[in-house]
Amino acid sequence: MNAGLRTNLALALGIAFAAALSIAAGKVWLPWSAWTFGDPRWLIIAELRVPRTVLAIVVGAALGLSGAAMQGYLRNPLADPGLFGISSGAALGATLSLYFGYQSSPFVLPSFALAGAALSMFTLALLAGRSGSLILFALAGMILASITSSLTTLTISLASTPLAASEIITWLMGALTDRSWDDVSMTLPVVIVGAVLLAFTARSLDALTLGEQAARSMGVDQRRLQWLIVLGVGLCVGGSVAASGMIGFVGLMVPHIVRPLVGGKPSAILLPSALGGALLVLLADSLVRIAPTVSEVRLGIAMSMLGGPFFLVMLMRLRRSLA
């Protein structure tokens, strides 16, 4: 059994345990009697905790997979799915929905977020044009990210009361609280399509290991690859933001953790990154509920708190190896 298969199986097992933990975890302690169908508290499990667990898996997998694909495509281990500006575009959509108060159905906010993501992808296409140039793309992504985040901040500042502003800010901090099967039904198909598109890039990403010229000489279609990556990452990230707000660091951290286990080949880290991302978000989401604070720590904040020390450890190790 090779390293890749072993790692994937271990991660899948980890997810199973973490999912069980996630269903059991919460501010409300549920004794075993509550787990029977007739008990009214069963609703907490069936309508709140299970969909939340499923959504954590979907969002984590989407973010982990996007991170691995971005890093493979940009040949840079510090690339993050947010670089294309699509997550900030989705966040802007959701912010506008909160600002205008459109809350007639649970699908309104996620739809706005997905619309934001779609518009961002379209704008990216417009800005970057037909070329396959990486630098042009990265620049277009930066422009998009800065425009959308400044529009988001503008919207917050225009909020009529400090309370309304704080509602938007709180949503942006990222959380899976009180999500339902409706959110799952919206996010899951979007993420699945994105993931399938990214799966198609696997072999070309491997060829890119040798650089763009060598890859093209081996038959890699540069433009097709670029669009698969943009659409795949856009759908995965857009779906995640629509469900849970901005959760960072997952796409950046998980490929790093997985790479020493399965080797550096870009195609080999795609699946483990998806599984690892799901595991990480599941654990973090369980932790924010179990932690002895009065209200849940926002998931996006918890992730940043994990990300900082993680990269500090990496930095220390790098310095030691260079010394």
Partner: protein, 264 residues
């Protein structure tokens, strides 16, 4: 006999003309050395031959078919390019790196036995089999160059284009690579290699194309071009030509070209 033809090729990069009205042809089973001073357009020419660079006018034909009109995958199967800059972006082992060369051949469902065999053959040919499990980044410059050559050989192309493959190799390995290129040609592929060292060119090439500032200065069989006055003019040097003897016999009729000094 299959041939790679270049017809009146004109190429400009970033608005600057790089190749002018270039016409030549290459034959399979032979090694052609591309010589010329820096900036002559040799790398650009290789990119055009590989179909990676679109010319302004003129074309490159492989078996009478315009190379630009062949689909990407077939082209990649038939033409292998070894670029000058040998980047390896990720920490992968040598066997994985060499197997990347099978990319144009790979079917939908992963590597076949044929792919494995080709990889093993390529590694044996470049004498890197003992590094198969080692990380490619942990190799020395010379070892890395051989591994990258193995990658191209693994694709078993009809045409092998190599851009200065001998840089950073020690003399023994330089000779090995040159021998390898001759073997590849002997097996029926066409080899076009950009070289800087005139001695190497004299040793490995059947034909030579001498370029300067995007134009052909001289082309033809090795001896003709290497001893022509244009060679000295193009590089601005005086050369000395030796016959190579081994125990009294002339070895394969080889004549050695050695740069002596700048011409006055």
């Amino acid at each position: 006999m299959s041939a790679l033809r270049v017809e009146q090729l004109c190429v400009s990069l970033r608005g600057r003309p790089v190749i002018h009205d270039f016409t030549t042809h290459f034959a399979r089973g032979r090694v052609t050395a591309l010589l010329g001073p820096n900036g002559a357009g040799k790398t650009t020419l290789l990119n055009c031959l590989a179909g990676l660079q679109r010319p302004d006018s003129g074309c490159v034909r492989i078996d009478e078919v315009d190379v630009q009109s062949i689909d990407r995958r077939s082209r990649a199967r038939r033409i292998g390019l070894l670029p000058q800059q040998g980047e390896v972006h990720w920490d992968i082992d040598v066997a994985t790196l060499v197997s990347l060369g099978r990319f144009p051949h790979r079917g939908r469902w992963g590597a076949s036995a044929e792919d494995h065999q080709a990889v093993l053959r390529a590694m044996a040919a470049t004498d890197v089999s003992q590094f198969a499990a080692r990380s490619a980044r942990a190799l020395s410059g010379g070892e890395r160059s051989r591994v990258l050559l193995a990658r191209v050989l693994a694709g078993e192309p009809e045409w092998l284009l190599a851009d200065e493959p001998l840089a950073s190799l020690d003399p023994a390995h330089q000779l090995d690579v040159l021998d390898r290129l001759r073997e590849v040609a002997a097996r029926g592929a066409g080899v076009i290699v950009v070289l800087h060292d005139l001695g190497h060119a004299a040793r490995v090439a059947d034909d030579v194309v001498l370029m300067r500032e995007g134009r052909i200065v001289a082309q033809g069989p090795r001896h003709t071009v290497m001893e022509a006055p244009e060679l000295r003019e193009t590089f601005g040097i005086d050369v000395q030509i030796f016959n190579v003897h081994s125990g009294g016999d002339v070895v394969n009729g080889e004549r050695f070209v050695v740069p002596l000094r700048r011409s006055r």
